[in-house]
Amino acid sequence: MAEPTLIFDRSQPGRRGTQVRAHDTKPAREAKLPPELARAEPLPLPEVDEQTLVRHYVNLSHNNFGVDNGFYPLGSCTMKYNPKATEHAASQPGFAMVHPTQPARTVQGLLELMHELQDWLSDICGMDATSLQPAAGAQGEFAGMLVFRRYFEDRGETERRVMIVPDSAHGTNPASAKLAGFDVHEVDCVNHGGVMTVELLEQVIEKHGADRIAGIMLTNPSTLGIFEDNITPVANRLHDVGAQLYYDGANLNALLGLTRPGDMGFDLVHLNLHKTFSTPHGGGGPGSGPIGVQGHLADYLPGPLVKREGESYDWTSPEKSIGRIKLYHGQYLVLVRAWAYILLNGAQGLRDVAEHAILNANYVQARLKDAFEIPYADRYCMHEFVASADSFKDQGIRAMDISKALLNDGFHAPTTYFPLIVHEALMVEPTETESMETLDTFCEAMLRYAELARTDPEKLKALENLAVKHLDETYAARNLNARWTPPEE
């Protein structure tokens, strides 16, 4: 059986690795540790030389696919180019090698950067204040929910516990609201064209009573990539009953400099710096999920924030803050990348980002709409659109088959089976950094699959270029093997 070679398999007893201190440097003193706690044997870590280690991970990197490898049309994830200048910025020792307890007076430049970023993000979102604390989008959502909770408690409205979430929303939305102690009411938008309407809202208000509605979690453009133009009446109706509006910033790339969540009536927004502001996804993280709020919520933001007094900067925490949601001061090195990205682009550049994200999505939509079912293709999409593979079902071809064919041909797959509104969904977000040539290559591949689905579906499923395929997820779950253990154990 062909098995992957682990670093542990490359170990040779007695071999030495990277020399941090000279290998023969020994402690000068006898250890003083409680005998109950002292370790008898070293841990069974691998023993490899540095070159073996380098080849091991360089070869593993060849089995991995990033934006630097090729096109990544992963809907709602904004997999755009990660500029190398922002990486370089984050690796400066003046940022990367600073201990977080260094007093504020000795790190004025580092605080100045955070203060600028707070201000810029507030303006970009149409908000009054921003906290850079949350570690990722989901933590931003959670922090936002806690802000709402504290706001209502402060007003004595402790009965406001119903958080409205469209069933088309990202799974983190309901999970974050629940974690903050809200009763989540998932609204069936899936069967109503995927949009939130005043009518749907009225049903929820009637069911729970206006005094129990805490708010709603929405994103705009919607998960279909369509601008929800009924946002103003929805916002007005919710504000009428005293509820708050939460904006999920996953799709903000389409709006930069064009319109702002604050102007649409949202009270609170979370951003994903690893999407809109092009900090790399890192194979799953780190992200960063700042939250911006309107003035009435600013007192509840998670601390610390950076304040400016005259020419100097200091930490502060709002009076009624929800407190600290992570250690120290946020994902600082991710903040540096976002700050540098904004400076590289400038005000006009950010608007260009949104416009070209929209142009690229509409171009690809137009090229694919005759071969794939695309709901709402009769109107312009924003930065992404959802195609359906439903029409190939009779040939035994599903959305996942199209996705795997793309992998086979050197592309990343679109987001598959999400949103649930569309059967056999393939959610395509090209992003603004992809050239027309790349988009054309992708479109031609997609058109070829549509053709193959009709003429030779088995060929479409062949996946001849993939070295590893048909990974058995059921087997993995039933026979959990989530670590290497030494042979003798």
Partner: protein
């Protein structure tokens, strides 16, 4: 248009293909009254050289302390990061990739995280670990949540042993706004020793877990930890241990001492201090708790490799997670700290079996040397006289002298420890907690000792 590749001619062709006259035409779906009719209030575009200039100024406006003159810990430690870690983790195939939901083209990252999980299990003595959390504070909150979930809401009291990192406890408190558990801290009596703090009296059949920190946030080890954990188990509660994984080079793992859940901060294993972020939260547990564990998990499975049957890696047990389970998920976590987990995986392989022990011994040796020299100074006393420590300890200074020492050291380019949180005990206002790693040499320790001598 810094990163937009279109030529004017291509843009025109693309617009035509989309059936639009111009870009403004495409934007027509945004209602006019919602449009922003002014430029964003951010600076004009800087070229790369311009950004570098600004960075240079920001960095020069701050004091940069050499790594070997940082004696501060508190979750974030000045360990040396070998060049090979930066070099390999900066490969674009790794750092520009998304979460490995498509295993066919993500075997590299998936295997690295599987190896990372193997390391974390070894370092903690646990059977299973997630693919990372945000930091040591949030993974502590996750651990508490796991415990409560496992008791299905029937036990709602969380007991903290004394000297669990107050900042991490703040994070638990914020998470608890939603959880509404009862949070209780054992208070050390006059002896100020958590071994005698009456933890046992706080345990009852409503206690879901007891949280220990090992070594504790003032740096001291805890000889009776195994006995305390047994008491927790006798009460039917879970023992959560927040842990500094570098200590595994010399000390028994929390798993060997009986812990059920082990969490903490792994910045120390190959990651930069980064002014406190991003950090690397780890969370490991006994396999029986895996169904309530939050976060991603990588597992090995069967697949086709070439034309043969083989093995590969996938994300597994996803039914716990928000993208499947939504409101009933074990947590809302989605993005984690995968790139830092990758770095830790490379770091552990680079220093290897003997290197890890050697570096841990040098950390301990430096701490012993500094402790001996500092406590020999008149007026300086050990916060916990006679207690043992791994690489961190806390010293008390005469009333009013602590800040003078700290400030003089700063003037000389030395970060003289961390000022411990005095919410734990008022006399900590006169104390500093010092941390030592393999990076420090005798001359560094002497420079620190001299600052203390000069003030006293």
């Amino acid at each position: 248009m810094t990163f937009i590749p279109h030529t004017a001619e291509q843009r025109a062709r693309m617009l035509a293909a989309a059936g639009a006259k111009d870009i403004e035409d495409l934007l027509g779906t945004i209602p006019a009254d919602l449009r922003l009719n002014r430029p964003l209030n951010v600076p004009e575009a800087h070229g790369e050289a311009g950004v570098c200039r600004r960075i240079h100024r920001l960095v020069t406006d701050s004091q940069q302390i050499a790594l070997n003159r940082v004696f501060a810990g508190g979750g974030v430690y000045p360990h040396f990061v070998p060049a090979v870690v930066d070099e390999l983790s900066h490969r674009g195939e790794f750092y520009t990739a998304y979460t490995p939901y498509q295993p066919e083209i993500s075997q590299g990252m998936l295997q690295c995280i599987y190896e990372y999980q193997s390391y974390i299990c070894m370092l903690t003595g646990m059977e299973v670990t997630n693919a990372s959390g945000y930091d040591g504070g949030t993974t502590l909150a996750d651990s508490v949540l796991m415990s409560a979930l496992s008791h299905k809401g029937k036990r709602t009291k969380v007991v903290f042993a004394p000297h669990v990192d107050p900042q991490a406890k703040d994070v638990v408190a914020a998470y608890n706004i939603g959880m509404e558990l009862e949070l209780v801290t054992g208070n050390p009596p006059d002896g100020r020793y958590e071994g005698e703090c009456g933890l046992k009296d706080l345990l009852d059949d409503n206690t879901t877990c007891v949280v220990f920190q090992y070594p504790n946030c003032l740096g001291y080890t805890y000889a009776e930890l195994a006995e305390r954990i047994q008491e927790v188990h006798d009460a039917g509660a879970f023992a959560i241990v927040m842990y500094y994984p570098f200590a595994a080079g010399m000390l028994k793992t929390p798993g060997e001492l009986g812990a059920d859940i082990v969490c903490g901060e792994a910045q120390c294993l190959g990651n930069p201090m980064g002014f406190g972020g991003p950090l690397l939260g780890f969370l490991a547990c006994r396999e029986k708790l895996v169904r309530v564990m939050p976060g991603r998990l990588i597992g090995k499975t069967k697949c086709e490799r070439g034309d043969a049957e083989g093995e590969g890696f996938v994300m597994t047990l996803q039914a716990r997670e928000q993208h499947i389970r939504r409101v009933r998920a074990t947590s809302n976590i989605c993005s984690n700290e995968a790139l830092l987990a990758l770095r830790t995986c490379i770091y552990m392989g680079a220093i290897g079996r003997s290197g890890f022990t050697q570096l841990a011994e040098l950390c301990h040796d430096n701490a012993l040397a500094a402790h001996e020299a500092l406590t020999a100074i008149d007026g300086v006393s050990d916060y916990y006289e006679g207690r043992m420590f791994f690489n961190e300890f806390t010293l008390l200074f005469p009333e009013g002298k602590r800040d003078a020492i700290y400030d003089l050291a700063l003037e000389r380019g030395i970060l003289a420890g961390v000022k411990p949180d005095a919410r734990q005990a008022p006399d900590l206002n006169n104390a500093l907690t010092f941390a030592f790693t393999e990076i420090h040499r005798e001359s560094d320790i002497n420079a620190l000792v001299n600052c203390v001598k000069e003030v006293l």
